[in-house]
């Protein structure tokens, strides 16, 4: 098993490198000369030539990739074209906000999904089951950016209960755990949580239904164990799979929150990406995507390692 864990960690390294290469290529496939991502468009020709040489842009592609990689390895993601500040400086605070939003949303989605899926799996074929499955299908089919708008219409415009935009009073992006800030978190969290809610419901329903049919559950019942006692055994068996799904959902939401962040002007990586796209600020686009994807790779690895360690039944080659 230790061997498996080690191999899994080693396998993540080429994946991370390949992810880096794809991010590097993003600037290459962008229309126009990549030099435009470094110098302003009105720079004189000799400056452009000098910068091209300094940045190694006259070198072959793979050499350029090596140069870029060596900078990224020490945390230098370049400078924003729009603000001139280092990309990492802007990214740093944005990641914290996105992580919090994604974490709260996946937690809420996970809890709701477990309740719905658990009920649906236990009472399979009942009206309860059909209701839960219906909610799950709606959850994965709804365009969540639209759901966010509907939430704003209902809770901000009509009822005036919750704020529609930002992460704090007066557009501040510094987080604090007080009601004024938490109020801003509610609508984006609920909106974003419908996706993991739908997926977790489906998964948990399947797992629970499968476990309920297994012989050991029948045996436990025959032994005279109460419903609650049987339920605990089922939870123990379902937990590692459900946790794995939850971990991956956190990663998907980190990358997928761009639409919801745009709707609610949540000051996270999504909003950063959005403005980078509009201003064609390629260094910011590249840096944000790289960091988010590497986070996803690391999360995938962590989920795999934890699951293998927790669940001795999983034997992998």
């Amino acid at each position: 098993m230790l061997l498996y864990l080690l191999r899994r960690v080693f396998y993540a390294i080429p994946i991370a490198l390949a992810v880096g290469f794809v991010c590097f290529m993003l600037v290459q496939i962008a229309p126009g000369d990549p030099i435009n991502a470094i110098v302003p468009p009105d720079a004189p020709a000799d400056v452009v030539a000098q910068v091209r040489k300094d940045y190694g842009l006259d070198q072959p592609l793979m050499v350029q990739f090596g140069l870029w990689l060596s900078k990224v390895a020490v945390g230098d993601l370049g400078r924003s074209l729009a603000t001139g500040r280092p990309v990492w400086a802007d990214l740093h605070s944005a990641i914290g906000n996105t992580l919090m939003l994604a974490f709260c949303a996946s937690l809420l989605g996970f809890v709701l999904g477990c309740v719905l899926g658990g009920l649906a799996g236990t009472f399979r074929g009942s009206a309860l089951d059909r209701g839960a499955v219906g909610i799950a299908v709606a959850g994965v089919s709804v365009p969540h950016y639209w759901l966010g708008m509907v939430m704003v219409v209902i809770f901000s415009v009509q009822l005036n209960w919750l704020p529609a935009m930002g992460a704090g009073p007066g557009g501040s992006s510094d987080w604090a755990w007080d009601w004024e800030h938490v109020r801003h978190l509610i609508l984006p969290t609920v909106t974003l949580s419908v996706i993991p809610m739908g997926i977790v419901t489906r998964t948990v329903r399947g797992i629970v239904a499968e476990i309920m049919n297994q012989e050991f559950v029948v045996a436990l019942r025959g032994k005279g164990l109460t419903r609650w006692g049987v339920f605990l055994h089922v939870v123990k068996n379902a937990a590692s799979n459900a946790l794995a799904v939850m971990g991956l959902q956190l990663g998907y939401l980190m990358g997928g929150s761009i639409l919801v962040e745009t709707v609610f002007s949540w000051p996270g990586t999504g909003l950063l990406l959005n403005s980078a796209i509009f201003q064609r600020d390629l260094p910011v686009l590249q840096g944000t995507i790289l960091v988010l994807s590497l986070f996803f790779v690391a999360l995938n690895l962590a989920v795999d390692l934890v699951q293998t360690t927790l669940d001795p039944r999983i034997k992998r080659a």
């Binding site: 994965v140 709804v142 639209w146 219409v153 990663g251 997928g256 709707v263 959005n274």
Partner: protein
């Protein structure tokens, strides 16, 4: 994952042969099960009606989709002559929803069709050939799996810039790896079955075996999986337009309409959310249709 898909594929192949042995064909059985499933029939009917409506948009639409007027901006739902109100430039919402469906459907379906063609070719090749070919194709697939799909779509179309073609290219690239994985595991399941060995022993070439024995058994599951992707693709495609990455104004498209109407949610909130209702209905329709097809064709997973 792969073991269940393998088992499913094996079972499917067995059932296909059993069905063929009976007087009634496999597809007749699928159709019979489909007819007894009111939910799937309802979804299919609704989607067909929507398709008809957007194809016949020029005949059905009461106004011009591009012709606005400053004096009738943001009218509420139920205004005479403008049953669903008007948008921020005074254009008729009903007309724009009808015309907008054309691009939204186009961008929801075309990437999946392209990804189905490319992905199933590569996936079946990888699954059937095995060895180094499999290794090469599947490891490249792993790289694309290392990106959350929304992020990958935004990254590619963000780097390439706004435009319908770029958005379709980005979405196709997002879905190819997903289809490759399904195609590969289903094909591997079929490859190890006895009738493939028998065909090989009788001297059939690899190409013949794939054409005669493999394709018929794997295309069904891949097709059903692709159908379920249309729902995701439509949400993503409209999402890209919502971000300003897909269609460009003044072209009518549901995601773009949501984006431009977003500024109007304080004035006409219920008009502003209408394009989203269209996306939602289409996406849930394709999702349930895929579920129904999966059940009728008896594909697990």
């Amino acid at each position: 994952m792969s073991t269940t898909a393998t088992a499913a594929a094996a079972e499917l192949a067995v059932q296909a042969r059993q069905a063929a042995a009976k007087s009634e064909g496999y597809w007749a059985g699928v159709w019979k099960r489909l007819r007894r499933d009111p939910m799937t029939i309802a979804c299919g009917t609704i989607l067909l009606l929507m398709l008809l409506a957007i194809v016949l948009a020029p005949l059905l639409a009461p106004h011009d989709p591009y012709q606005g007027s400053m004096i009738r901006r943001l009218k509420p739902i139920g205004t005479p002559n403008y049953p669903l109100g008007t948008d921020e430039l005074g254009r008729d919402i009903l007309t724009r929803l009808l015309f907008g469906g054309r691009l939204s459907w186009f961008m929801g379906i075309v990437p999946v069709v392209l990804a189905f063609l490319v992905g199933s070719t590569l996936g079946i090749t990888a699954g059937f050939m095995g060895g180094r070919v499999n290794m090469a194709i599947m490891r490249i697939t792993d790289i694309f799996y290392a990106f959350p799909s929304v992020l990958l779509a935004v990254a590619i179309s963000g780097a390439l810039g706004a435009g319908i073609f770029n958005a379709i290219l980005a979405l196709t690239l997002v879905f190819i790896p997903q289809i490759i994985r399904v195609a590969e595991s289903v094909t591997q399941g079929v490859r190890s079955l006895d009738f493939v060995d028998a065909a090989r022993a009788s001297g059939a070439s690899g190409f013949t075996i794939v054409r005669v024995h493999v394709l018929g058994n794997v295309l069904g599951p891949i097709f059903v999986y692709a159908t379920s992707l249309i729902s995701v693709c439509m949400i993503l495609a409209s999402g890209l337009s919502f971000l300003g990455l897909g269609t460009k104004p003044p072209e009518p498209e549901w995601g773009l309409m949501l984006n431009t109407l977003r500024t109007a949610i304080y004035v006409q909130p219920w008009v502003a959310v209408l394009p989203g209702v269209c996306i939602f209905v289409t996406s849930i329709g394709f999702n349930l249709l895929a579920d129904g097809l999966r059940q009728a064709m008896d594909i697990k997973g």
